[in-house]
């Protein structure tokens, strides 16, 4: 996954310093600082390539990146910018080690996955002491002053049972076609209901979702943080599962970042197609249209493109087709739906102030549509958008399109009038 020094050097040569990345970089748009835009970061990486000493300014510039791929999508030279930045972060961890907080979290990911689930369950038990439910959103805000966390910071409500627990009790109906479902950590441990919604929709379409418990984290977060050894281990573990299930032709995920990571795995079984759930539903559009019949969402809805779906995987039409299907003319585009929400893996936590500024533009754009729901196919974006709605006291909720679809399918079809 990580480029070799030679590949990086060749890639760096492709940049013609045109500056087009400035048009889209969320960090540059906020700061106006040229050391924080792709052109500047590439210049800095080139400047000290191979060096054993990493100057403070360099570290900061390499850190100030959401890995949102906006620059990449806009670069006429096709420079693989995020891969270069991730490789620079590997160089950084090799020389300086991992930041201690990230180190702790990633150790959980790398080692027996059970520890995450136990960690989450313990958290679920204790979180009510410090955190309280939000009236309208799924998520929690603090009860008491906590260091580094303001009263608008939203954390996910940790569920008592994770997706694996919930699935243990379920049994698939007979005669269904098997399909792999990669839930990803957020769906598995934080929003298991979303996983159930996705499985329900698959079932309605005649598919039995297989969720091997051996699937691990996709490795996107650790890759972005420069923790190469953890990412490589996670990838190997997931590849093993994929090869063991090589008879199954398709894999779906409802997480934009997982999809982006999985599609980039080298050495995955050639005959297994990896699809975002919106791509899969689009393949089965006729059947889904039949299933839905006259059921339609009555609320105004808008859509935020997850960066790792639109720019990472080039998927932007299918989610819109889906929203048109479930909401018809109640689906309204916001201005610049493609702009990043500012979450960016751990960026929202480590650079809260800047992340909030980026988020504010997004919430303003969502507010302007008058929508009651902001849909987005990524658990990370959903959490960030929810925080945006809390901060701006906006009147909408962030939801995954699959949740909306499942809810509609649960409703009885309206009578002909």
């Amino acid at each position: 996954m990580t480029m070799t020094p030679f590949e990086i050097e060749e890639e760096l040569k492709k940049c013609v310093k045109c500056g087009a990345c400035m048009a889209v970089c969320p960090i540059y748009r906020q700061t106006g600082r040229e050391d924080m835009v792709a052109r500047g970061k590439l210049n800095l990486i080139e400047l000290i390539k191979g060096s054993k000493e990493l100057p403070a300014g360099w570290l900061e510039a390499v850190d100030y990146c959401l890995l949102c791929c906006s620059c990449e999508e806009n670069c006429s030279k096709g420079v693989k910018i995020t891969e270069i930045i991730a490789a620079a972060r590997v160089q950084q961890t090799e020389i300086m080690g991992l930041n201690p907080i990230k180190k702790g979290v990633f150790a959980l990911l790398k080692n027996r996955i059970i520890s995450i689930s136990r960690f989450v369950k313990l958290g679920s038990f204790g979180q009510w002491l410090l955190w309280q439910r939000l009236p309208r959103h799924s998520g929690l805000v603090r009860r008491l002053p906590l260091p580094g966390i303001d009263e608008k910071t939203v954390i996910p409500a940790l569920p008592k049972r994770n997706l694996d627990d919930l699935l243990r009790k379920q049994r698939a109906a007979a005669g269904l076609q098997p399909i792999l479902f990669f839930p990803g950590c957020a769906t598995r441990y934080l929003h298991p209901q979303m996983g159930l919604d996705l499985i329900f929709v698959l079932e309605k379409l005649g598919f039995n979702a297989i969720v091997p418990p051996e699937f691990k984290c996709c490795g996107m977060v650790t890759w972005g943080a420069g923790d190469e050894s953890t990412s490589a281990k996670l990838k190997q573990a997931n590849l093993k599962v994929l090869h063991e299930n090589a008879g199954i032709k398709q894999l779906v995920t409802g997480c934009a970042s997982c999809g982006h990571a999985l599609k980039d795995y080298d050495g995955r079984p050639q005959n297994c197609e990896i699809l975002d759930i919106s791509e899969f539903l689009f393949q089965h559009r006729e059947k889904l249209e039949d299933l839905l019949g006259k059921r339609k969402l009555r609320q105004k809805i808008t859509y935020h493109d997850p960066c790792h779906l639109r720019k990472g995987q080039g998927v932007s039409k299918e989610p819109r087709w889906l929203l048109n299907l479930i909401a018809g003319e109640n689906f309204i585009e916001m201005r610049h739906p493609e702009r990043c929400c500012g979450a960016g893996g751990t960026f929202g936590i480590t650079h809260k102030e800047l992340s909030r500024k980026i988020l504010k533009e997004k919430t303003l754009a969502a507010d302007a549509t008058g929508a009651g729901i902001v849909a987005s196919g990524c658990p990370g974006c959903i959490l960030q958008l929810t925080e945006g709605a809390v901060v701006a006291e906006s009147d909408w909720q962030a939801e995954h399109p699959i949740t909306l679809l499942a809810n509609l399918l649960h409703q009885t079809e309206p009578e002909e009038r």
Partner: protein
């Protein structure tokens, strides 16, 4: 720590912090300042430090401090310039205006926008669009270049045929002289002839006369609709006659772009429609305005060229329009496949001289044995000339250099100019005296001296050092 910051830069930093600058407005770190040393020409030369003022008083503070210390100032927008205008020297301060990016007013009654120089052109267009208004200048870099940079380079784009270039929209300016004193030029009046027109003087001044801090821009009502057509002709001469005929028959396109046959061959295989083998020149024509008028003019266009054009396609909707424009958009990446490097110049010539200049460039291409690809704005005579070569091959590099001398000679011979939109900067200053006579240049230098007696504001640009 001292290794990372120059002692002088450290001193200036302390003074500026005392004056209220925040850390993120000062880039003094020796590593980070390298990000302010280049522009789209890929030259590079690191400044002493880069400063990012947030208002005009901070600009003034910087200019006064620089005057006290006898330092040079290099104004900078987005650093997307194609002639090296924003390239600093080691004893100079980069004055980056990207944090002065407020749209101060959109005056709907007078149809004028007042903006700070760091506003990105595309952002302004989007904002005025919300009021049904239109800011036409459309350099290809509009999504990232700044209005300040557009004004000082007098940037233009395809729409220049009908609407003109940036300068045609600048009603007035506020600017600071190198010593920190402020001047005001122009106003909101359409007719305004009181005194010298300093606004026009600062337009296209390439950051050498004053630092612009506020800009008044004329706006127009947004056109109701636009229609795009693609026409193919058997020769450049036939295409040039066609452009002339359009004007004569009162078809008033907003855009007339051309692609020569090298360009056509480079993109042909990537187009969603078939271009006839015999096509030598392609014109992309866009007509905008009220619905009825556009329809009418488009009909005229079809009647006029149904026999002469080898191919005439009208875009029926947005997606077809996008397909026609693909020919132009695919061009830059496509010609990159011809050779690893290109030297590109943006000469401009009188309309009638286009066919002759193109044919002379063909001959030059044979002479230096390097491909020369031409495309650009047929409606205003601005031609992008690209000499394709491998710069790592010393022989090719030498032939390329000779080629550039000849290109300028051909251009000036035809009554043209060295630059239609990118400016002289430091990349073309060596040729400046080929275009202008000594007395004219001396007069220009006298103007420079009146504004900047010590040559501390963007030295080395336009005039050779």
């Amino acid at each position: 720590m001292d290794k990372l910051i120059d002692p002088l830069a450290r001193q200036l930093t302390a003074r500026l912090k005392d004056a209220g600058f925040r850390s993120e407005q000062i880039v003094a770190d020796k590593v980070l300042r390298t990000c302010y040393g280049y522009d789209a020409t890929r030259q590079s030369s690191d400044p002493l430090l880069a400063l990012l003022p947030e208002n005009e008083l901070q600009v003034q503070t910087i200019l006064r401090l620089a005057t006290e210390k006898n330092l040079k100032i290099f104004p900078r927008g987005a650093g997307s310039g194609m002639s090296g205008g924003a390239i600093p020297s080691a004893d100079g301060i980069i004055l980056s205006l990207t944090r002065m990016r407020r749209i101060l007013e959109i005056d709907e009654d007078n149809m004028i926008a007042t903006v700070e120089p760091g506003v990105v052109t595309g952002d302004l267009q989007e904002e005025v669009g919300k009021f049904g208004l239109f800011y036409p200048p459309d350099p290809a870099s509009l999504a990232f270049s700044t209005i300040g940079g557009n004004v000082t380079e007098n940037a233009g784009g395809p729409r220049a045929v009908k609407y003109g270039v940036t300068g045609n929209f600048v009603m007035g300016l506020e600017a600071y002289l190198i010593n920190g004193e402020k001047i005001t030029c122009g106003n909101k009046c359409i007719k305004s002839v009181s005194g010298y027109d300093l606004t026009s003087l600062l337009v296209g001044s390439e950051g050498t006369l004053a630092v612009i801090t506020k800009i008044l821009l004329k706006l127009l009502p947004a056109p109701e609709t636009a229609k795009t057509s693609l026409l193919a002709f058997s020769s450049m001469t036939a295409a040039a006659h066609a452009v002339n005929a359009m004007f004569k028959y009162q078809i008033n396109p907003s855009t007339i772009e051309f692609l020569d046959h090298h360009s056509i061959n480079a993109v042909r295989s990537e187009l969603p429609f078939a271009l006839p083998e015999a096509a030598d020149t392609v014109l992309l024509v866009e007509i905008d305005g009220p619905e009825a008028q556009v329809k009418n003019q488009s009909k005229k266009l079809n009647e006029l060229f149904k026999n002469d054009a080898l191919l005439l396609i009208d875009a029926k909707d947005e997606s077809e329009r996008e397909q026609l424009w693909l020919a132009r958009r695919k061009l830059s990446p496509a010609i990159a496949n011809i050779a690893p490097h290109k030297i590109n110049e943006d000469i401009a010539v009188p309309l009638a001289a286009i066919p002759e200049v193109i044919s002379n460039l063909e001959e030059l291409s044979r002479e230096i044995n390097l491909p020369i690809v031409c495309f650009g704005h047929a409606g205003d005579g601005n031609i992008h000339v690209n000499v394709m070569l491998d710069k790592n091959d010393p022989d090719q590099a030498e032939r390329g250099r000779k080629g550039i001398d000849k290109i300028f000679a051909i251009t000036l011979e035809a009554g043209g100019t060295l630059s239609g939109e990118h400016g002289i900067g430091n990349t073309k200053s060596a040729y400046f005296d080929k275009e202008w006579d000594p007395v004219t240049i001396a007069t220009m230098r006298a103007v420079k001296k009146a504004f900047d007696p010590d040559n501390r504001l963007n030295p080395g640009k336009i005039f050779p050092l």
